[in-house]
Protein backbone atom coordinates (compact mmCIF):
# COMPACT_ATOMS: atom_id res chain seq x y z
CA UNK A 1 0.00 0.00 0.00
CA UNK A 2 1.41 3.34 -1.06
CA UNK A 3 0.69 6.02 1.52
CA UNK A 4 0.53 9.46 0.00
CA UNK A 5 -0.43 12.98 0.98
CA UNK A 6 -1.62 15.55 -1.55
CA UNK A 7 -1.09 19.27 -0.95
CA UNK A 8 -2.66 22.12 -2.85
CA UNK A 9 -5.59 24.32 -2.08
CA UNK A 10 -7.57 25.43 -5.14
CA UNK A 11 -5.21 23.62 -7.48
CA UNK A 12 -6.42 21.81 -10.58
CA UNK A 13 -3.29 19.66 -10.46
CA UNK A 14 -3.92 18.57 -6.87
CA UNK A 15 -7.61 17.97 -7.65
CA UNK A 16 -6.68 15.89 -10.68
CA UNK A 17 -4.20 13.80 -8.71
CA UNK A 18 -6.76 13.18 -5.97
CA UNK A 19 -9.46 12.21 -8.47
CA UNK A 20 -7.13 9.74 -10.14
CA UNK A 21 -5.86 8.10 -6.98
CA UNK A 22 -8.65 8.15 -4.40
CA UNK A 23 -10.33 4.96 -5.59
CA UNK A 24 -7.16 2.97 -6.09
CA UNK A 25 -7.05 -0.03 -3.74
CA UNK A 26 -3.25 0.07 -3.67
CA UNK A 27 -3.01 3.75 -2.69
CA UNK A 28 -3.96 5.28 0.62
CA UNK A 29 -4.83 8.93 0.07
CA UNK A 30 -6.55 11.20 2.59
CA UNK A 31 -8.31 14.41 1.46
CA UNK A 32 -6.18 17.17 -0.02
CA UNK A 33 -4.26 19.23 2.54
CA UNK A 34 -5.01 22.87 1.88
CA UNK A 35 -2.21 24.60 3.81
CA UNK A 36 1.45 24.00 4.43
CA UNK A 37 0.77 23.68 8.15
CA UNK A 38 -1.79 20.92 7.46
CA UNK A 39 0.79 19.04 5.42
CA UNK A 40 3.32 19.32 8.20
CA UNK A 41 0.80 18.15 10.78
CA UNK A 42 -0.11 15.15 8.63
CA UNK A 43 3.52 14.20 8.08
CA UNK A 44 4.24 14.36 11.78
CA UNK A 45 1.18 12.28 12.63
CA UNK A 46 1.18 9.64 9.91
CA UNK A 47 3.94 7.71 8.18
CA UNK A 48 3.85 8.80 4.54
CA UNK A 49 5.67 7.44 1.50
CA UNK A 50 5.23 10.42 -0.81
CA UNK A 51 3.84 13.95 -0.73
CA UNK A 52 2.40 15.28 -3.97
CA UNK A 53 2.67 19.01 -4.65
CA UNK A 54 1.24 21.01 -7.57
CA UNK A 55 3.47 23.41 -9.48
CA UNK A 56 2.57 26.55 -7.58
CA UNK A 57 3.40 24.85 -4.29
CA UNK A 58 7.02 24.24 -5.14
CA UNK A 59 8.24 26.81 -2.64
CA UNK A 60 6.05 25.41 0.13
CA UNK A 61 7.55 21.99 -0.57
CA UNK A 62 11.03 23.50 -0.49
CA UNK A 63 10.42 24.92 2.97
CA UNK A 64 9.02 21.63 4.24
CA UNK A 65 12.00 19.77 2.79
CA UNK A 66 14.38 22.12 4.53
CA UNK A 67 12.71 22.53 7.89
CA UNK A 68 10.41 19.60 8.57
CA UNK A 69 11.67 16.50 6.79
CA UNK A 70 15.05 16.31 8.56
CA UNK A 71 13.18 15.77 11.84
CA UNK A 72 11.13 12.83 10.56
CA UNK A 73 12.30 9.25 11.09
CA UNK A 74 11.37 8.22 7.55
CA UNK A 75 11.02 11.31 5.39
CA UNK A 76 8.62 10.92 2.46
CA UNK A 77 9.60 11.53 -1.13
CA UNK A 78 8.53 14.86 -2.59
CA UNK A 79 6.75 14.54 -5.91
CA UNK A 80 5.72 17.30 -8.29
CA UNK A 81 2.40 16.64 -10.02
CA UNK A 82 1.79 18.72 -13.09
CA UNK A 83 -0.13 18.89 -16.35
CA UNK A 84 2.88 20.55 -17.94
CA UNK A 85 6.18 18.94 -16.93
CA UNK A 86 8.34 21.40 -18.86
CA UNK A 87 12.09 21.19 -18.44
CA UNK A 88 12.23 24.51 -16.57
CA UNK A 89 9.67 23.31 -14.02
CA UNK A 90 11.49 20.01 -13.50
CA UNK A 91 14.77 21.90 -13.12
CA UNK A 92 13.28 24.16 -10.48
CA UNK A 93 11.75 21.19 -8.71
CA UNK A 94 15.14 19.45 -8.63
CA UNK A 95 16.86 22.50 -7.16
CA UNK A 96 14.08 22.70 -4.55
CA UNK A 97 14.70 19.14 -3.40
CA UNK A 98 11.97 17.20 -5.17
CA UNK A 99 12.61 13.51 -5.70
CA UNK A 100 10.37 13.06 -8.70
CA UNK A 101 7.89 14.61 -11.10
CA UNK A 102 4.70 13.08 -12.41
CA UNK A 103 2.92 14.03 -15.63
CA UNK A 104 -0.81 13.89 -14.85
CA UNK A 105 -1.62 13.00 -18.44
CA UNK A 106 0.18 9.70 -17.96
CA UNK A 107 -1.83 6.47 -18.03
CA UNK A 108 -3.08 5.75 -14.50
CA UNK A 109 -1.28 2.42 -14.12
CA UNK A 110 1.95 4.01 -15.30
CA UNK A 111 1.39 6.94 -12.95
CA UNK A 112 0.95 4.70 -9.91
CA UNK A 113 3.98 2.64 -10.92
CA UNK A 114 6.05 5.82 -11.24
CA UNK A 115 4.86 7.01 -7.82
CA UNK A 116 5.92 3.73 -6.27
CA UNK A 117 9.30 3.89 -7.96
CA UNK A 118 9.88 7.44 -6.77
CA UNK A 119 8.81 6.49 -3.25
CA UNK A 120 11.23 3.57 -3.13
CA UNK A 121 13.98 5.66 -4.74
CA UNK A 122 14.40 3.48 -7.79
CA UNK A 123 13.90 6.51 -10.02
CA UNK A 124 15.10 10.00 -9.17
CA UNK A 125 14.50 13.38 -10.72
CA UNK A 126 18.23 14.05 -10.72
CA UNK A 127 18.63 11.19 -13.20
CA UNK A 128 16.23 12.84 -15.66
CA UNK A 129 18.17 12.82 -18.95
CA UNK A 130 17.04 16.34 -19.87
CA UNK A 131 18.45 17.73 -16.63
CA UNK A 132 21.84 16.07 -16.97
CA UNK A 133 24.66 18.45 -17.73
CA UNK A 134 22.83 21.59 -16.58
CA UNK A 135 24.91 21.77 -13.42
CA UNK A 136 21.89 21.78 -11.12
CA UNK A 137 22.64 20.92 -7.50
CA UNK A 138 19.74 18.78 -6.22
CA UNK A 139 18.14 20.48 -3.22
CA UNK A 140 20.25 23.62 -3.59
CA UNK A 141 17.32 25.80 -2.55
CA UNK A 142 16.24 23.57 0.30
CA UNK A 143 19.24 23.71 2.57
CA UNK A 144 21.16 26.08 4.80
CA UNK A 145 24.52 27.41 3.72
CA UNK A 146 27.65 26.56 5.67
CA UNK A 147 29.46 29.62 7.04
CA UNK A 148 32.80 29.52 8.82
CA UNK A 149 32.26 32.87 10.52
CA UNK A 150 30.25 36.11 10.49
CA UNK A 151 32.33 37.46 7.61
CA UNK A 152 31.13 34.56 5.47
CA UNK A 153 27.53 35.41 6.35
CA UNK A 154 28.06 39.08 5.50
CA UNK A 155 29.68 38.09 2.23
CA UNK A 156 26.76 35.83 1.31
CA UNK A 157 24.29 38.57 2.29
CA UNK A 158 25.94 40.99 -0.11
CA UNK A 159 26.31 38.48 -2.94
CA UNK A 160 22.62 37.67 -2.56
CA UNK A 161 21.76 41.32 -3.16
CA UNK A 162 23.28 41.02 -6.64
CA UNK A 163 26.17 43.44 -6.26
CA UNK A 164 29.61 43.05 -7.85
CA UNK A 165 32.85 41.83 -6.32
CA UNK A 166 34.34 45.31 -6.51
CA UNK A 167 31.38 46.82 -4.68
CA UNK A 168 31.48 44.12 -1.99
CA UNK A 169 35.21 44.61 -1.50
CA UNK A 170 34.65 48.33 -0.96
CA UNK A 171 31.73 47.72 1.39
CA UNK A 172 33.63 45.26 3.56
CA UNK A 173 36.93 47.13 3.38
CA UNK A 174 38.73 44.12 1.88
CA UNK A 175 41.06 44.09 -1.08
CA UNK A 176 39.73 42.28 -4.11
CA UNK A 177 42.22 39.43 -3.73
CA UNK A 178 41.01 38.63 -0.23
CA UNK A 179 37.40 38.89 -1.39
CA UNK A 180 37.86 36.46 -4.28
CA UNK A 181 39.71 33.99 -2.07
CA UNK A 182 36.84 34.11 0.43
CA UNK A 183 34.22 33.59 -2.26
CA UNK A 184 36.17 30.62 -3.62
CA UNK A 185 36.34 29.10 -0.13
CA UNK A 186 32.63 29.73 0.46
CA UNK A 187 31.69 28.09 -2.83
CA UNK A 188 33.89 25.08 -2.09
CA UNK A 189 32.54 24.70 1.47
CA UNK A 190 29.02 24.54 0.09
CA UNK A 191 29.74 22.24 -2.83
CA UNK A 192 28.96 24.92 -5.38
CA UNK A 193 30.56 25.67 -8.73
CA UNK A 194 29.08 29.03 -9.68
CA UNK A 195 28.73 32.39 -7.90
CA UNK A 196 25.08 32.58 -8.96
CA UNK A 197 24.34 29.34 -7.11
CA UNK A 198 25.52 31.00 -3.92
CA UNK A 199 23.46 34.10 -4.64
CA UNK A 200 20.18 32.32 -5.32
CA UNK A 201 20.63 29.79 -2.51
CA UNK A 202 21.19 32.50 0.06
CA UNK A 203 18.59 34.88 -1.36
CA UNK A 204 15.93 32.18 -1.13
CA UNK A 205 16.84 30.84 2.29
CA UNK A 206 14.11 32.58 4.29
CA UNK A 207 12.48 30.40 6.91
CA UNK A 208 8.77 30.13 7.48
CA UNK A 209 8.30 30.51 11.25
CA UNK A 210 5.15 28.40 11.45
CA UNK A 211 7.02 25.40 10.09
CA UNK A 212 10.03 25.87 12.33
CA UNK A 213 7.92 26.05 15.50
CA UNK A 214 6.64 22.78 16.99
CA UNK A 215 2.90 22.46 16.71
CA UNK A 216 0.93 23.06 19.90
CA UNK A 217 0.04 19.89 21.77
Amino acid sequence: MLRICIAGWNSTEADAAYSLLRDRPDVQVPPIRSTGAEVVEALRATPTDAVLFPTDWIDVARSIKKIVLPALDTPPSLVLVTHSPRLAIRARALSCGFDGAIDLSTDLEQLVMSLNRIANASIRLENDEDLQGLGIIPGLLARDLVFSDDDDASLADLIATGVSDDAIARALGWNVQVLRNRIAELLAANGMTYRTQLAVAHASSARIPDFARPLAE
Binding site: V176, Q177, A188
Partner: protein
Protein backbone atom coordinates in the same frame (compact mmCIF):
# COMPACT_ATOMS: atom_id res chain seq x y z
CA UNK B 1 61.99 48.23 -30.35
CA UNK B 2 61.13 48.24 -26.68
CA UNK B 3 63.41 47.56 -23.76
CA UNK B 4 63.43 44.07 -22.27
CA UNK B 5 59.99 43.47 -20.76
CA UNK B 6 60.73 40.71 -18.28
CA UNK B 7 63.44 40.50 -15.66
CA UNK B 8 64.26 37.17 -14.07
CA UNK B 9 64.06 37.45 -10.32
CA UNK B 10 66.69 35.73 -8.20
CA UNK B 11 65.66 32.42 -6.74
CA UNK B 12 66.25 33.85 -3.30
CA UNK B 13 63.46 36.40 -3.76
CA UNK B 14 60.53 35.75 -1.45
CA UNK B 15 56.89 35.77 -2.49
CA UNK B 16 55.97 37.47 0.77
CA UNK B 17 58.12 40.46 -0.20
CA UNK B 18 55.94 41.03 -3.24
CA UNK B 19 52.40 40.10 -2.18
CA UNK B 20 50.41 40.09 1.05
CA UNK B 21 49.08 36.60 0.47
CA UNK B 22 50.47 33.77 -1.64
CA UNK B 23 46.97 32.53 -2.50
CA UNK B 24 44.89 34.19 -5.17
CA UNK B 25 41.70 33.43 -7.05
CA UNK B 26 41.06 33.71 -10.75
CA UNK B 27 37.52 34.50 -11.83
CA UNK B 28 36.43 33.07 -15.18
CA UNK B 29 33.23 31.98 -16.90
CA UNK B 30 31.62 35.42 -17.07
CA UNK B 31 32.33 36.04 -13.41
CA UNK B 32 30.86 32.73 -12.25
CA UNK B 33 33.78 30.36 -11.60
CA UNK B 34 36.32 31.01 -8.86
CA UNK B 35 39.52 28.98 -8.97
CA UNK B 36 42.18 29.41 -6.31
CA UNK B 37 45.92 29.02 -6.73
CA UNK B 38 49.00 29.11 -4.53
CA UNK B 39 52.07 30.94 -5.76
CA UNK B 40 55.07 28.62 -5.75
CA UNK B 41 57.48 31.31 -6.88
CA UNK B 42 57.30 34.66 -8.59
CA UNK B 43 59.82 34.22 -11.36
CA UNK B 44 59.80 37.43 -13.39
CA UNK B 45 59.10 41.10 -13.01
CA UNK B 46 57.56 42.77 -16.04
CA UNK B 47 57.76 46.32 -17.24
CA UNK B 48 55.49 47.83 -19.87
CA UNK B 49 54.05 44.41 -20.56
CA UNK B 50 51.01 44.14 -22.75
CA UNK B 51 47.95 43.95 -20.50
CA UNK B 52 49.80 45.80 -17.72
CA UNK B 53 50.93 42.58 -16.08
CA UNK B 54 53.64 43.22 -13.54
CA UNK B 55 54.86 39.73 -12.67
CA UNK B 56 54.98 36.11 -13.81
CA UNK B 57 54.70 33.27 -11.33
CA UNK B 58 54.68 29.51 -11.09
CA UNK B 59 51.48 28.40 -9.40
CA UNK B 60 49.57 25.31 -8.30
CA UNK B 61 45.80 24.93 -8.33
CA UNK B 62 44.65 24.42 -4.75
CA UNK B 63 41.92 21.89 -5.46
CA UNK B 64 44.09 19.35 -7.25
CA UNK B 65 47.71 20.52 -7.32
CA UNK B 66 47.82 21.03 -11.08
CA UNK B 67 50.73 23.23 -12.18
CA UNK B 68 50.56 26.41 -14.21
CA UNK B 69 52.08 29.76 -15.05
CA UNK B 70 50.34 32.96 -13.95
CA UNK B 71 50.48 36.51 -15.19
CA UNK B 72 49.81 38.85 -12.29
CA UNK B 73 49.10 42.52 -11.91
CA UNK B 74 50.39 43.37 -8.46
CA UNK B 75 49.60 46.79 -7.05
CA UNK B 76 50.61 47.70 -3.50
CA UNK B 77 51.27 43.98 -2.77
CA UNK B 78 47.75 43.04 -3.83
CA UNK B 79 47.04 40.89 -6.89
CA UNK B 80 44.43 42.92 -8.71
CA UNK B 81 44.24 40.83 -11.87
CA UNK B 82 45.52 37.44 -12.87
CA UNK B 83 45.37 34.90 -15.65
CA UNK B 84 46.69 31.38 -15.42
CA UNK B 85 47.81 29.01 -18.14
CA UNK B 86 47.85 25.43 -16.94
CA UNK B 87 50.93 23.45 -17.93
CA UNK B 88 50.52 20.12 -16.19
CA UNK B 89 47.11 18.87 -15.12
CA UNK B 90 46.92 16.67 -12.06
CA UNK B 91 46.62 12.97 -12.77
Amino acid sequence: MTSRRYRLLPETSRTSDLVECDEFTVVTGDGEIYTSFTIVRITHEATDARGAWTHLAEVTRITDGAVGKARLRIVARVIEESTVTMQFESE
